[in-house]
Symmetry: C2
Subunit: 304 residues, 2 copies
């Protein structure tokens, strides 16, 4: 398997920096895996680690991280504000470049089996890797959390996909899955009227009848005297950034408000930006291989 | 020196495929250099080879190609429709990613010196690497071609920058330089009126008072019943693709004509497409490092 895959692992330690460092070190020490970012939160008592690399390297790093977290974290002693069921709580695989969602599902199954067999931690497959439609949703799988799942995991329909049929005494259970890249996208408006931002957020968000795959809220940026439509775009292939931008522009016009600027928070795959360029420039036949940089690294499968 | 550099070498053989293959092989055989494309033309009796890679690899490939061309091509026997002064006629270095124009000038000087010293071929530095403003223009440097330069090269002001003060008896002289990437960009119009395309081409091209760095002509696409504004954009940093597109759109409106589509012929650096996305989405603070793929290859100088 070739290409670049991303993982964004959540583990249940957000306070003890020594423990956090030892766990994150598992990613750093794998050649071919590249740590992009990690952050931790005291109140949530939880860390988030983002890394990318070849499929083999990312799976290896994810396994080693899970193994180290199981060694160092005791869920019996864990308290925190964020719902959680295991020492390593969630492991998604995200296709970035030269790799399909099916590949990522296969990686999730492979890692899930290994965590179940070798670490004896029960694994639930979620997202695109879910074994049934009802298991796609992470929150539903995690219902009851570490404490409640000790019993719940034994009830029909809640059996894990891999590993033992009961919770690991200290490491709990882990969700392993596959999903599309998530883009955090904000649009700032030339207005200080919070109600305008909220109305526009409601107009574009899926829940209220707007665009599919868009989660949106209205916020006030006190220091800038502007309001913002703050969004998570969960499927930019189906619902591209430019469509969201254009709809917000059209909705804002209704209030005589124009767009000050937009921003992508954190990372985006190259493709989503190129899609916008092709849309506005009416470039109908442009392919990824016309980007010089892509020819260096992605041709002939020379790079994993 | 790090980053990716491109070269687009023109050499003076476009008929004998065995000779052409032996010369192109010099690029293929260098690890770290990647042959992207080569083409040859019987009438011009000339080949164009495009390749990219690390600075060291691209310089090495360019030197080996020049050496092999000097061995296999005799300019005394060369005839062709395209102006030329040497077996290897032109070697530009083009900054693609993670490398500056100053770096490319340095590469041109380094290669120029080596070709002059080791192959005893006189070298003229041109483009951004030119030793004086009057030497930037390739056509001016090449004036007189192989035959005329035998005498002209000895006249004051026309001395080569490197190598002997006279033409190599069989390999002539070579121009080595640095320039920005060139983008071949066309805009197709919902019109079959060639005059409209010509008027718009005149409105956008630098020569007629339009946009700097834009060369444009109007063409008819007989099979599509459309007309086209066909362009070369020689500096998309100063004069970006989206500005050219928007100006054509505005000029076309004057004739009640809309844009059918646009197209990039061949390759473009990633940056020029990202620039368009940022322009239309009003992404004011987006950086290259927010593209996930770029984090794999270009951080920490891990890749040349």
């Amino acid at each position: 398997m070739e290409g670049i895959v991303q993982s964004v692992i959540n583990f249940s330690e957000g306070r003890d920096e020594k423990v956090i460092e030892k766990i994150v070190e598992q990613v750093r020490s794998i050649p071919g895996a590249k740590l992009l970012d990690y952050s931790y939160d005291y109140d949530h008592n939880r860390s988030v680690v983002t890394f990318i690399g070849s499929p083999e390297a990312v799976v290896e790093a994810a396994f080693n991280l899970t193994s180290k977290a199981a060694e160092l974290i005791d869920m019996e002693k864990h308290h925190g504000g964020h719902p959680r069921m295991g020492a390593t709580d969630v492991i998604p695989f995200v296709p970035i470049s030269g790799i399909t969602m099916d590949d990522c599902v296969e990686l999730a199954q492979r890692l899930g089996r290994r965590i179940g067999d070798e670490l004896e931690i029960p694994v639930f497959l979620y997202g695109e890797a879910a074994s049934s439609p009802g298991r796609k949703n992470l929150a539903a799988l995690r219902k009851g959390e570490f404490e409640g799942l000790k019993e719940a995991i034994k009830t029909p329909g809640r059996e894990p996909d891999h590993g033992p049929g009961e919770m690991h005494p200290s490491a709990g259970a882990t969700a392993v899955g596959a999903r599309k890249p998530l883009v955090a996208y904000n649009v700032n408006l030339h207005s200080d009227d919070l109600q305008v931002a909220r109305n526009i957020a409601n107009a574009v968000r899926e829940k209220k009848g707007g665009l599919k795959n868009v989660k949106a809220i209205g916020l006030k940026l006190e220091d800038r005297n502007q309001v913002q439509v703050s969004m998570n775009l969960v499927d930019c292939e189906s619902t591209p950034i430019y469509r969201v931008f254009d709809l917000i522009k059209a909705e804002a016009r209704r209030y005589g408000v124009s767009i000050a600027e937009s921003e992508i928070i954190g990372l985006s795959p190259q493709e989503y930006l190129i899609d916008a360029a092709c849309h506005y420039l009416q470039l109908n036949n442009f392919t990824n291989q016309q980007i010089i940089e892509n020819r260096v690294f992605f041709e002939d499968g020379e790079e994993g």
